[in-house]
């Protein structure tokens, strides 16, 4: 039966995993121990879903693909309950999984050699998505963004509910533009975000407009 690894050779539930460290915003956890420290259980569920690439840029796996290897590490550690301690029904989880699967598959399909974006940009996009989710804190669950690859190596993550819009424009070799468009241009907001920095509080407040509804 397959196992899910975050570091080569170290199973998620291994007692030999790295010692506990408090994850900082913008940094991906690399071990299961570190994973448990995330404040937002949805981040844990994302990671455990296998949606996070394993650290090897050639081994992206979509949640649907890795779902087969989900049960073992989660079941053994008993962390599944924690992962599922979120508002929502089975149907809403299924919908979110589907959107996550879309996002993960898309990043895989448009990245790499001869792709519209590089693997590095795809990695940055996924890491930023996780950082945003984690920055929202416990109990706040935002929609999965729509990803859009441009013609010049850029990747946009977009939340748009028809009234409000939040956008993360990842540009190769540049900081990410975090953009909010309000109902009127006077409400617009933008920020140059560098990978690994804390998510600005303004961005967190804007993203609360895109909370998932059960």
């Amino acid at each position: 039966m397959s196992q899910l690894f975050f570091e080569p050779g170290i199973p998620l539930d291994s007692p030999n995993a790295a010692s506990p460290t408090e994850p900082s915003q913008g940094n991906q956890p690399t071990t299961f121990t570190e994973l448990r420290k995330f404040t937002n259980p949805f981040v844990s569920s994302l990671l455990l879903a296998g949606a996070l690439h394993s650290g090897n840029s050639t081994s992206w796996s979509s949640p649907s693909e890795s779902a087969m290897s989900w049960s073992d590490p989660v079941g053994q550690t008993g962390n599944r309950e924690a992962c599922l301690d979120l508002p929502g029904t089975a149907d809403t989880f299924a919908l979110r999984d589907e959107r996550l699967s879309q996002l993960s598959r898309y990043l895989h399909d448009v990245s790499g050699k001869d792709g519209l974006i590089t693997r590095e940009t795809a990695d940055r996009g996924w890491s930023l998505w996780l950082a945003l989710v984690n920055a929202m804190g416990s109990g706040i669950d935002i929609e999965v963004p729509v990803a859009m690859a441009g013609q010049d190596g850029e990747l946009f993550l977009v939340w748009d509910n028809g009234v409000h819009r939040f956008e993360a424009d990842l540009l190769p070799d540049s900081p990410t533009d975090l953009i909010y468009l309000g109902p009127q241009p006077a409400a617009d907001w933008e920020f140059k975000y560098k990978d690994g920095e804390p998510i600005p509080q303004d961005a967190i407040e804007k993203l609360k407009l895109f909370q998932r509804t059960a």
Binding site: R99, Y106, G150
Partner: protein, 183 residues
């Protein structure tokens, strides 16, 4: 060759104008695109590229549909399999969209003819032995044009992209083309 517009009116052949002169009214311009992750239209395709920003003035690269076929546009933009769609935009609709120019000299977008020159990987012009810029002679390059007044703050550009996507008519490129080898 005379063609008819949507109303069935015969129109004279479209002839490229001088660089910087406006396209006629009621023309359609095209841009290739990859669908978004949920299959919806992709606004990122309207992001100014490095090459677009190097052009003088800055213009978003598009092609006049009556001079550049969908296949030619796809090949001119790298023959990428992911670019499975063509977005069509009407010049009149484009000219109704507010620009990113805060000075209000150009309150709306515009569509100009733009000679397509050959450039290297750093977007520097390829020059011939006389030191002149070399035109791109690829099939369909004659239809090259550009959407002006899109350059502004990130949020202003985002608003423009959002408006452009609203006027898009999208069509899928044939699978045989997408799986063909670049020529």
């Amino acid at each position: 060759v005379e063609t008819s517009n949507d109303a069935g009116t015969l129109r004279p052949p479209l002839v490229p104008g001088e660089d910087g002169t406006p396209l006629p009214s009621d023309e359609w311009v095209i841009r290739v695109a990859a669908p978004a992750s949920d299959g919806s239209l992709n606004e990122a395709t309207f992001n100014l590229t490095g090459r677009d920003k190097k052009s003088i003035p800055v213009r978003l690269s598009v092609y006049a549909e009556r001079l550049t076929s969908h296949e030619q546009a796809w090949r001119l933009t790298g023959s990428r399999r992911e670019n499975s769609q063509v977005y069509l935009l009407n010049t009149d609709k484009i000219r109704e969209i507010a620009s990113a120019d805060e000075s209000s000299h150009h309150p709306k977008l515009d569509v100009d003819w733009e000679v397509k020159y050959l450039v290297n990987n750093f977007y520097e012009y390829n020059l011939n032995e006389l030191g002149e810029r070399m035109k791109d002679a690829s099939p369909g390059a004659i239809g090259h044009c550009g959407i002006r007044h899109m350059f502004g703050t990130p949020s202003a550009r985002s608003r423009i992209r959002r408006e452009l996507i609203k006027i898009v008519q999208a069509c899928n490129l044939p699978e045989e083309l997408l799986s063909s080898q670049p020529t």
